[in-house]
C-alpha cells in the first residue's frame, strides 16, 4: 500500500480524544499482518508490538498519538439543533458553516450554523463566537434526533481529502495520524532481523487534552528508549521563521533541555548518515509533545522527538507533504534498526 493511502485511511478514522476505540475494527484492518500483537489499554491507547525475534532484545518505543481534536454534544435543541463543547484546542475561526459528522447511533451529517448578515449587529462579524454558542444544524426533528444522539456524543470533521499541487494532501486528522501512518508504513517494510529490538508502536490516546495516554502507555510498556513523533507547524505567510518549517523539505528533530541530549545527538547523526532530509529545531524547555511525559515515567526513558511539518494545524484542512512523511518513515526505520543506540541505551 502507498504511504499516501495509509495516511488518509488512518486520518479518516474517528478517534476524537476519549473515543480512540470507536473505529478499532477498521484500525486493526489497517494494521493487519504488520504487528505480532495489538492491544488496547484502559486509557484507550493502542499498543502495537512487532518483535525482532531475539530473546532479551531492548524494547523500543515509538509514540505517535492517535487521538484527534473534536467536539462533544452538550445539548439537544428544538428544531434538531445541537450545542457542543470542544475536545482539545479547536481553531474556532474555521467552525462556522463547516461540515461535521455526529457519531450517534448512526453517523449523522451536520452543518455548523452561522448568523445571516442582516441579523448581525454592527461589529458582530469581527467577533468570534465561542464554541458553546454555536449551533449544529442536523435537519432532524428533535424527537427523532434524541433517538440517535445523546449528551456526550462525539462530533468530528468530515473525512474528505484533497490532493493539492506537488502531491500535498489536505484534510482532517493528520495531527497526528499522519505520523502514526508513517510509522506503520515504515515498520511494515522492515525485515524483523534488521530491527535492533522489539518495537512498541504506541498509538497514544488523549494527547490533545493533556498528554494523558502517552504517560500511562509508556508506563505500561516501560521501554528502554523512545522516539516521539508528532506534527510541527508548516510555514505559511503568517508564521515566523524558527517556529514553522517549509513543507517538502523534510522533518525536524528537536534540540531541547527536556529530551535526552545523547540520544538526540545520535539520532541527528543517524539522520545525516542515512541522508534523511531534516532541520534541527530548538524547543528549549518544552517540546509540546508526549515526550514531556514519556521520559519521566518509571525510572526514566531516554527520549528524542522528531516532527512532521503540517500547515493549518487543528483545522479540518490540515496540509502536509507525503514526501516529508516518507522522510519521517525513514528516520523511524533507521532509529529502530540502529544497533549503536541499542547498545548505548538498552538497560
Amino acid at each position: 500500500m502507498e504511504l499516501k493511502q495509509r495516511i488518509t485511511e488512518m486520518a479518516g478514522l474517528m478517534s476524537i480524544s476519549g473515543h480512540e476505540n470507536y473505529d478499532r475494527a477498521a484500525l486493526l484492518d489497517q494494521l493487519a499482518d504488520i504487528f505480532d500483537e495489538v492491544t488496547t489499554d484502559p486509557m484507550g491507547s493502542h499498543i502495537c508490538i512487532r518483535r525482532c525475534g531475539r530473546q532479551g532484545a531492548p524494547k523500543i518505543l515509538i509514540d505517535a498519538h492517535f487521538d484527534e481534536i473534536g467536539m462533544m454534544v452538550t445539548e439537544i435543541l428544538d428544531g434538531g439543533f445541537l450545542r457542543v463543547i470542544n475536545i482539545g484546542g479547536i481553531d474556532t475561526r474555521i467552525l462556522q458553516a463547516g461540515e461535521v459528522i455526529i457519531y450517534g447511533e448512526k453517523p449523522i451529517y451536520g452543518i455548523i450554523g452561522s448568523t445571516p448578515p442582516h441579523l448581525q449587529k454592527p461589529g458582530d462579524a469581527k467577533k468570534l463566537k465561542p464554541i458553546n454558542e454555536l449551533l449544529i444544524d442536523t435537519g432532524y426533528d428533535k424527537d427523532e434526533l434524541e433517538k440517535l444522539v445523546r449528551l456526550g456524543t462525539p462530533v468530528g470533521f468530515v473525512p474528505a481529502y484533497t490532493e493539492l499541487l506537488g502531491g500535498k494532501l489536505a484534510g482532517k486528522g493528520f495531527d497526528n495520524k499522519a505520523c502514526g501512518a508513517a510509522a506503520v508504513d515504515a515498520l511494515s517494510r522492515l525485515d524483523r532481523a534488521e530491527m535492533a529490538g522489539d518495537v512498541y508502536l504506541l498509538l497514544a490516546s488523549q494527547e490533545e487534552v493533556g498528554l494523558r495516554g502517552g504517560e500511562t502507555g509508556a508506563a505500561g510498556i516501560d521501554p528502554d528508549y523512545a522516539l516521539v513523533v508528532d506534527v510541527t507547524h508548516g510555514s505559511a505567510p503568517d508564521t515566523k521563521k524558527d517556529e514553522a518549517f517549509p513543507l517538502g523539505e523534510g522533518i525536524t528533530i528537536s534540540l531541547s533541555a527536556a529530551t535526552d541530549l545523547r540520544l538526540t545527538r545520535r539520532t541527528v547523526e543517524l539522520a545525516r548518515e542515512k541522508g534523511i532530509k531534516f532541520t534541527r529545531v530548538v524547543e528549549a524547555a518544552n517540546t509540546g509533545t508526549d515526550a514531556n511525559v514519556t521520559q519521566l515515567v518509571c525510572c526514566g526513558i531516554p527520549t528524542v522527538v522528531a516532527s512532521l511539518p503540517l500547515r493549518s494545524m487543528h483545522t479540518y484542512q490540515e496540509v502536509l507533504s507525503p514526501d516529508d512523511a516518507e522522510e519521517l518513515g525513514k528516520l523511524i526505520s533507521a532509529f529502530v534498526c540502529d544497533t549503536k543506540i541499542a547498545e548505548d541505551f538498552a538497560r
Binding site: 484502559p42 488523549q206 504517560e215
Partner: protein
C-alpha cells in the same frame, strides 16, 4: 443520611491536614470493613474483600476526598492580626466577613483590610482577627503553620435540600460510608479510599491508586450546575439525580464505565443525569492516570455555590448516588 453528613462535616481538615476527619470516618468504617489504614500522604483506605473466589475478583476503587479548602497561618502582625495563605480555590468574595475556626478550637473572623474594594479581594488583603490585643496574646493561641477553616455548618432547607459547608466533598465521603453499609458482601474487592489533598491538585488519589492498582475506579465529588440565575448553560441541575460524569477539564471518563453506570441506573430506575463540565477536575483523572492507567469514572452530586459557606445539595441526589453505586457493584 443527614445525620451521617453532619457528623462528617464537623471536623475541620484542610488539604494536607486531614487527620481530624479521617478519625471520624475511620470509626465509621472499621466495624464494616476488613481492613482500615492510612498511607504516607494521609489517605484513609478501607478495604472490603469480595465474596467471589480469589483470582476472580476485580479491584474496584471508590474515592471521595476528605480535605476541604482553608488557610494556613503564615505571619502574625505586631497588633495581633493573623496573615494567611489560601489552600485550594478560595472564593474571597464568599470568604469575606465570615467566622473561622482553628484546629485547636480557637475562633476568629476573616476580614479584608479596611477599604479594600470588592474587585481587589485577594488573599494578601485578608487577615484573621481573633480578638487578641497584641502579637503576644495572639501567639499564645495560634502559631505559624496552624490551619483554620470557615466554620462548618449544615442547614436543612425546603424538601430534601441542604446548605452548608464543606459539603465538597464530605457528601462524597458520606455516600461511600452509606454504600459500604448497604452492600455488606460485595462480589469484588472494594477499596473505599477517603483521599487527601484533592483541593490542591488531586494528589492523594494518585498515590493511593498507584498502590492499589485498581481495575475500575469511581470518584464521588460535587459538580457545578446550570440551574442558578446567571449560570452558564449546563444540563446538570440540583434534584435531577446522580450525575454521571462524561468529562471535565482534567478527564474524559472511560466510555465503557459510563455505559455500565447508565445501564445500571436505567434498569434500577434510579434518577440520573449526564454531566459535561467545561471546567474543573476531580480525583477521577488521578486514578485514571495512575501507573499504567485504569478504567475511571465519576458520580457527582449536583451542587450550587461550590466553595462558599452555603454549598447546596439535594439529599435525593445523594441517595441516587448510593443506589447507583450499589446497583453497579452487583453488575460489575
Amino acid at each position: 443520611m443527614l445525620e451521617l453528613l453532619k457528623k462528617i462535616v464537623k471536623a475541620p481538615a484542610i488539604s494536607g491536614r486531614e487527620g481530624a476527619v479521617a478519625d471520624v470516618i475511620s470509626a465509621l468504617m472499621e466495624p464494616i470493613c476488613d481492613e482500615v489504614y492510612r498511607d504516607k500522604l494521609g489517605n484513609l483506605i478501607a478495604v472490603k474483600h469480595g465474596s467471589a473466589p480469589e483470582g476472580e475478583r476485580k479491584k474496584i476503587m471508590f474515592a471521595a476526598h476528605m480535605d476541604e479548602i482553608g488557610f494556613f497561618v503564615t505571619f502574625i502582625e505586631d497588633n495581633g492580626y493573623i496573615r494567611l495563605a489560601p489552600i485550594g480555590g478560595i472564593n474571597f468574595v464568599a470568604a469575606a466577613y465570615t467566622n473561622v475556626i482553628f484546629a485547636n478550637g480557637v475562633k476568629g473572623v476573616l476580614v479584608p483590610e479596611t477599604g479594600t474594594k470588592a474587585d481587589a479581594l485577594t488573599f494578601d488583603k485578608f487577615y484573621v482577627d481573633i480578638g487578641a490585643k497584641d502579637k503576644k496574646e495572639a501567639e499564645r493561641r495560634v502559631k505559624i503553620g496552624d490551619y483554620f477553616v470557615i466554620e462548618p455548618s449544615v442547614t436543612r432547607l425546603c424538601g430534601k435540600r441542604v446548605a452548608g459547608r464543606p459539603l465538597d466533598d464530605r457528601v462524597g465521603c458520606a455516600i461511600m460510608v452509606e454504600t459500604a453499609r448497604r452492600v455488606p458482601t460485595p462480589r469484588d474487592d472494594v477499596y473505599y479510599v477517603f483521599t487527601a489533598q484533592e483541593e490542591v491538585g488531586c494528589r492523594g488519589a494518585k498515590t493511593a491508586a498507584f498502590a492499589i492498582a485498581p481495575d475500575v475506579a469511581i470518584a464521588y465529588d460535587v459538580t457545578g450546575t446550570g440551574d442558578t440565575i446567571g449560570a452558564k448553560p449546563m444540563a446538570v441541575k440540583v434534584g435531577g439525580g446522580a450525575a454521571i460524569k462524561l468529562k471535565d477539564s482534567s478527564v474524559i471518563c472511560s466510555t465503557e464505565l459510563v455505559a455500565a453506570l447508565e445501564t445500571a441506573a436505567r434498569e434500577e430506575k434510579i434518577a440520573y443525569q449526564i454531566e459535561i463540565l467545561p471546567y474543573g477536575g476531580t480525583d477521577t483523572s488521578s486514578m485514571q492516570m495512575a501507573g499504567s492507567g485504569c478504567m475511571a469514572g465519576c458520580l457527582s452530586v449536583p451542587t450550587r455555590y461550590i466553595h462558599s459557606g452555603v454549598e447546596m445539595i439535594d439529599l435525593g441526589d445523594v441517595e441516587a448516588c448510593v443506589a447507583l453505586t450499589a446497583a453497579y457493584l452487583v453488575r460489575a
